[in-house]
């Protein structure tokens, strides 16, 4: 099962914890996380379901390419990190 972890900066705003969830894509893994932590969804995704402009998601060391549908595939042992993007000022 892939693991999903979050930037500690999110802990100040809403409840987070590392999750081990089923999912063949980033979208499926995050959907499973948000079932456990529903308030977290709006901090990571915008109201159209895309990754927020200043959030970046890494899967196994590579930032996800599909920021709208999150279709990037995951392996059973994948590690996903949700981070603040270093953008803006």
């Amino acid at each position: 099962m892939p693991t999903v972890e979050f930037t500690p900066n999110l802990a100040r705003q809403t409840m987070i914890r590392p999750c081990r969830v089923d999912g063949a894509t980033v979208a499926e893994a995050l959907r499973a996380v948000f079932e456990e932590l529903p308030a977290l969804r709006g901090y990571v995704l915008d109201d159209q379901g895309a990754v927020r402009t200043h959030v970046v998601i890494f899967a196994d060391g590579t930032s996800v390419r599909d920021r709208k549908q999150l279709s990037d595939p995951l392996r059973p042992d994948s590690e996903v990190f949700v981070m603040q993007a270093l953008s803006g000022g």
């Binding site: 705003q13 709006g42 109201d47 159209q48 379901g49 200043h54």
Partner: protein, 370 residues
């Protein structure tokens, strides 16, 4: 007199309270985070705040104890864009207007007879309504889907936004909203239908044949007299206007002293002839005239305007006062305003004199008395 003032700033929501030694800052909330808009709801004492995280988007919080503790409620969400919904293109830039929340730009309580109703204006132009104190929100699709929205464009920010929402105290189904840039819109039926009014409003930034088009106007802020809501004052991009018929026909004032450019306007709660503005040099500079800050006041329905300077810096001042940063309390004498350079002043004599509460604050986005 109101004894409590709330500031929404670039780095916190800040509470200011009047004690035995005068007005003092008493408590910050959301330290380090933008608070572009807040609402003290006089109907039930609730305090609401839009909290905008640089990375994690806009959230909506509520406090039942004046800001001591907060709980997160629902943030307005644009519904999924239907596959067959065409993009609305910004007429100034030929780019599609986003179908997603960019910023909460206005928050207002519904009528006294409809507790829990809240209105929320946003950038890029969606109006939202809650009937459960922010537990959930619905996009007012009748306005969002109005074909005239294709003529709206950004003013102040890249995309159009609803910055003023006025709920008629006589009939809460009648609501006015003002859009930068998209004019003044009225619903008589709680949001089911909308019409754009604005006879007499003129801008100087469009081609001459469009200068009087109500939908191309940039009303920086509108405010009406609570006791006489047919009188509405407008600080427009190109001057000061007033309507005496509920927003349909407007009269232009060119006799501002020292100028007619600005963003904010506040209207006396019971005397529609009294209004306050914070003037500056017009749009290409946006600084106080000759470096001297003043609040501009009319007490005679616009026949004359006078600058109020006592207690305000009169040289080398660069204070800009955004559209939500001037407020008058229910007594009609206590006023407050805050600037982009982090100063906040309060007057307890209708603007005759001002006391600076702090010069050390972050840029101020919103000033409201409880």
């Amino acid at each position: 007199m109101s004894g409590k003032l709330y500031l929404g700033t670039r780095k916190a929501l800040i509470e200011v309270e009047r004690g035995s030694k005068g007005w003092r800052i008493t408590r910050p909330s959301f330290s380090g985070v933008q608070v572009p808009m807040l609402l003290p709801d006089a109907r039930d004492g609730m305090l609401y705040a839009a909290v905008e995280h640089g990375h994690f988007g806009t959230k909506f919080h509520a406090s039942g104890d004046g800001g001591a503790t907060w709980e997160e409620r629902a943030s307005p969400m644009y519904p999924p864009k239907p596959d067959d919904a065409p993009d609305v293109m910004c007429p100034m830039r030929s780019k599609p207007v986003p179908w997603s929340l960019e910023k909460i730009w206005s928050l207002e309580a519904g009528g006294k007879a409809e507790p829990g109703v809240l209105w929320c204006g946003t950038i890029p132009g969606g109006l939202f309504k809650s009937t459960d104190s922010g537990a959930s929100w619905s996009l007012v699709e009748s306005l969002w889907n109005n074909p005239a929205r294709a003529k709206w464009f950004g003013g102040g920010y890249d995309w159009p936004g609803i910055h003023s929402v006025c709920v008629d105290p006589r009939d809460h189904r009648r609501v006015l909203v003002a859009v930068s840039c998209g004019g003044v819109w009225e619903t008589p039926d709680g949001g089911a239908t909308w019409a754009c009014h604005g006879e007499g409003i003129v801008n100087d930034y469009m081609p001459p044949e469009l200068a009087s088009d109500p939908v191309t106007q940039d009303p920086h802020r509108i405010a009406w007299c609570q006791a006489a809501p047919d009188t509405i004052w407008m600080q427009h991009h190109n001057g000061i206007f007033r309507s005496n018929d509920g927003g349909k026909v407007w009269e232009r004032f060119t006799n501002g002293n020292p100028s007619v450019f600005g963003f904010a306007v506040a209207v006396h709660p019971t005397d529609p002839a009294k209004a306050w503005f914070v003037p500056g040099i017009k749009d290409e500079q946006r600084v106080p005239t000759e470096g001297a800050l003043c609040v501009m006041r009319t007490r005679d329905g616009g026949k004359t305007f006078e600058p109020c300077r006592k207690g305000l810096p009169q040289e080398h001042a660069y204070h800009l006062v955004y559209r939500h940063c001037l407020d008058v309390s229910g007594d009609g004498r206590t006023l407050a305003f805050g600037s982009t350079t982090g100063s906040v002043w309060i007057s307890e004599d209708g603007g005759d004199s001002w006391e600076r509460i702090s010069a050390e604050l972050p840029p101020v986005y919103c000033v409201r008395f409880a």
